[in-house]
């Protein structure tokens, strides 16, 4: 089995260890160190899913938690089913079985796509509510079918064989994210003596340094990562939590972490020394100070057909090449508004494939990377952008045209370039999700073209999360944040030596979100903003026209940034489009609220050990053992186990409940108290007045009898 897109060398995968896996029933091969996404790309798989609403073919777009399309269902057995897994976050293991969540009869040929294609124009936001309005009583019927045609995965129908844990943790400084800023912050805080927890959601710690072009102290960046992690691992006051997502920031520095302990090893947790391991853990951390070093998400550009497989975020292209040794295509066109994205083209060229052109929206790009690209002979088309992608199931070309950014229009004729991969970058959005969980609205910075977090007391942001992008500055910023956080909780400042990084000269970026098309937005081919929820630029424009002016209303009307996606990739673009349509600025439009959890969490981890017999404590009376010995059947009264009736064991088939409760005392087993216990509550007061009440199961209840009346026992 060959992997057509795998490079002969490079990447951080173990080439000697091959792993077999199955996707949609077909067998493929990858390497240890791959994610499911990188292995799928290495095998040249274009379509990994069908879209939510229009059933359009979709491929892998990103390389991390922000991936909107490659949301797959894992599991070979019913009890091992895991829905909602991002292929970019799932490490490959031997025997992994995954499948697409949408698409019928299969993801390559999907019947529903015909509906999407023919009816796409007629499916604006609110389509279902506008169309299936009458009669109202039939909505439940419509809904059943509408739901069937949408949805992301299904939950298992059998019990989960795995076990999960909760841990309560305390630390002085919690550092979230182990990229350059996080590592520097953790080092600075740890050296001051503070108790530090460093968490990172990826398979490996290191963040952007794992695929950086920069050299630290003249050596590849990942050497500094390895050395720093070794230092941290050797310190008693440091806890490293890899594969752990900080999913929610709650009040007063209370953070929930979700640690995946065995999900990279197999479908269910393997045994260790004969005992089943804990599959995942929820850490409930009360920290003294929190440092958010969560980095950035790159924004893709919004142009026509930007969802056809082969359209990717520029940074993801670099990540796949440098970290996994996978080039996701042969011929690349890059559309960018900033310098940093040039990395993708340079990496692509260095891996021996062709870069057709770079369309740069700026008139005079002149940064260091731009000059490197020029020196390599890459064609740079300035003042232009990709306005439309060609192709049905894979990008076959890109239409590039000069654009007037202020006037939001295309100038002149578009040129069609032949390519199979289209990378785009519209800038970098700090990951502000955790900072926003408290309800604090982020602040727009015009110089960064991004929202930066508004922080509550005791929380600081460092590096990309704060809008600091250059590696050298990120390291210094992280170190300062770590040192200050430790200082605030009473630990003396110790300066940590940082590696030397050459400062790169970057040109200023320009503001580009939605790329204009020759046709107006409502008539142009679909320009997707939120790929996961199938929200288009036209949809947002229509929503604003129909009077939804608040961004929160636009969100709810169009479903932008809903569900598991939480607007990681598309929200800023969506706000920019809403701002353009409403003729406002982005800060005037504002953001929607990001809510926990940052990524989907398995219910098991939330439940922990509080399930099955530990879900609710059982309480026993002092006489419980006696009841057991006399063969009582029990009923639950609150948490109490109460004897219900005492079936006589003498008879062959046992005794029915009716017989057991109506049988009179004096026989071998005491019996009659059962009926009082199982009476409906309203009778408890009236029984002894009513002449012949009938019990809940229809047998008549004796009102006169021996004086065993158990009134004293019947409380509670």
């Amino acid at each position: 089995m060959s992997q057509p897109n795998r490079l002969g060398q490079g990447g951080r995968i173990e080439r000697s260890r091959k792993l077999n896996f199955t996707f949609n029933g077909k067998r493929y091969q990858g390497h240890a160190g791959d994610t499911l996404a990188s292995a799928l790309l290495a095998n040249g798989l274009d379509i990994v899913n069908r879209s939510f609403k229009y059933s359009r073919p979709r491929g892998i777009v990103a390389a991390g938690a922000e991936e909107p399309n490659a949301v797959v269902q894992l599991g070979s057995t019913e009890s091992g089913q895991v829905p909602n897994v991002r292929a970019t976050q799932q490490a490959l293991f031997e025997g992994l079985e995954a499948r697409s969540t949408n698409g019928w009869p299969n993801v390559q040929r999907d019947m529903m796509s015909l509906v999407g294609k023919l009816g796409g124009k007629f499916m604006p936001p609110g389509f279902y509510y506008k169309t299936f309005m009458a009669p109202a009583s039939l909505w439940m019927t419509y809904e059943k079918y509408i739901r069937k045609s949408a949805g992301l995965g299904c939950s298992p129908m059998e019990n989960d064989p795995d076990i999960y844990d909760h841990l309560h943790q305390h630390c002085d400084v919690l550092v979230i994210g182990a990229g350059p800023a996080g590592l520097a912050a953790a080092l600075a805080a740890a050296h001051s003596g503070a108790r530090v927890i460093l968490v990172d959601e990826q398979e490996e710690m290191g963040g952007s340094l794992l695929d950086a072009r920069e050299r630290l102290d003249g050596k590849p960046a990942n050497q500094w990562v390895a050395q720093s992690l070794k230092t941290l691992a050797g310190m008693d006051n440091v806890t490293l939590l890899p594969r752990t997502t900080a999913n929610g920031y709650h009040d007063h520095h209370f953070v929930t972490l979700h640690e995946r302990r065995t999900e990279h090893l197999g479908e269910t947790a393997p045994l260790l020394n004969g005992r089943r391991q804990v599959r995942s853990r929820m850490h409930r951390v009360r920290a003294g100070r929190v440092v958010l070093a969560t980095g950035t998400h790159e924004r893709p550009l919004v142009y026509a057909n930007n969802d056809v497989p082969g359209n990717m975020v520029a940074g993801a292209v670099s990540t796949y090449i440098r970290r996994y040794g996978v080039v996701p295509g042969r011929r690349l066109v890059l559309s960018t508004s900033n310098d940093h994205a040039y990395r993708a083209a340079l990496d692509w060229l260095e891996s021996g494939r062709e870069v057709v052109a770079i369309a740069d929206a700026r008139a005079n790009p002149d940064g260091e990377l731009v000059e490197q690209a020029r020196a390599q002979g890459i064609r740079i088309i300035t003042g232009s952008a990709v306005i439309e992608a060609k192709g049905e199931t894979r990008v076959s070309g890109a239409r590039v045209a000069k654009v007037d950014l202020d006037g939001f229009r295309v100038i002149g004729k578009a040129e069609t370039l032949e390519c199979d991969t289209l990378a785009s970058s519209g800038g970098y959005s700090p990951v502000i999700h955790l900072a926003s969980h408290t309800g604090a609205r982020p602040t727009w910075r015009d110089d960064l073209l991004a929202f930066v977090p508004t922080l509550v007391k005791g929380v600081s942001a460092a590096g990309g999360a704060k809008g600091v992008f250059a590696t050298a500055k990120v390291l210094a910023d992280g170190e300062t944040a770590g040192r200050q956080a430790a200082g605030e909780v009473g630990f003396g400042a110790v300066s940590v030596s940082l590696p030397k990084v050459a400062v790169r000269r970057d040109g200023a970026a320009c503001a580009l979100y939605q790329v204009p098309h020759e046709k107006p937005t409502l008539r142009a081919p679909k320009q997707f903003v939120d790929l996961q929820n199938d929200v288009t630029a036209a949809g947002i424009e229509l929503a604003t026209r129909e009077g939804f002016e608040s961004i929160e209303h636009v969100k709810r009307y169009t479903a932008m940034g809903f569900g598991t996606d939480q607007g990681k990739l598309g929200n800023i673009n969506g706000m920019a489009i809403a701002a353009r349509c409403l003729d406002k600025s982005i800060p005037e439009v504002g953001t929607t609220v990001f809510r926990p959890n940052y990524t989907p969490v398995t219910f098991g981890a939330i439940v922990g050990r509080h399930c099955r017999e530990l879900f609710d404590p059982e309480r026993y009376t002092a006489m419980h053992q006696w009841h057991v010995e006399h063969g009582a059947e029990f009923e639950d009264v609150g948490q109490w186990k109460r004897p219900w009736y005492f079936p006589r064991r003498a008879s062959v088939n046992g005794e029915t409940r009716d017989d057991g409760t109506t049988r009179w005392p004096g026989s071998a087993a005491p019996c009659a108290r059962g009926w009082v216990f199982s009476m409906p509550r309203r009778w408890a007061r009236s029984t002894f007045r009513a002449p012949t009440p009938v019990s809940s199961w229809g047998a008549s209840i004796p009102t006169s009898g021996p004086s065993w009346r158990p009134a004293a026992c019947a409380t509670g």
Binding site: D172, H250, D251, H252, H253, F254, R286, G288, T438, V456, K457, V489, G490, F491
Partner: protein, 118 residues
């Protein structure tokens, strides 16, 4: 989830140990029978819902089981002080920076919080 300093136990504890009991400093009318219906209704049912500093009554339900007061900012959820029953808050809407009343609890809490991580 809040991290609450119990002025009686002298420790910061998790919110799970506490129970909120609504607005603090609500004086029961001295002579209820003399109240009009409106006055009595106000006393029983009507509470402030300020944006900003708010005084609340809490009980350390699974701890010392004592009642005490909290001054909390309803926007940032920051707990500015906790003080025992019968004491007056030092942070009020008129004195958002504190200092409206000298609170012994407040000083004790400062000392505790300064020393807690040292």
């Amino acid at each position: 989830m809040f991290h609450i300093y119990c002025p009686y136990c002298g420790e910061l504890r998790e919110e799970e140990e506490f129970h909120p009991k609504g607005q603090a400093h609500i004086a029961r009318p001295a002579d209820p029978t003399a109240c009009t219906d409106e006055e009595w209704g106000d006393y029983l049912f009507f509470r402030d819902n300020p944006r900003g500093i708010h005084h609340e009554l809490w009980v350390h339900a699974v701890g010392c089981r004592k009642f005490f007061n909290i001054t909390r900012h309803t926007v940032s959820y920051e707990i500015l002080e906790t003080y025992k029953m019968g004491e007056q808050p030092s942070f009020t809407a008129e004195h958002p920076q504190g200092g409206s009343a000298e609170s012994a609890t407040r000083r004790a809490q400062d000392a505790q919080q300064a020393g807690v991580h040292a």
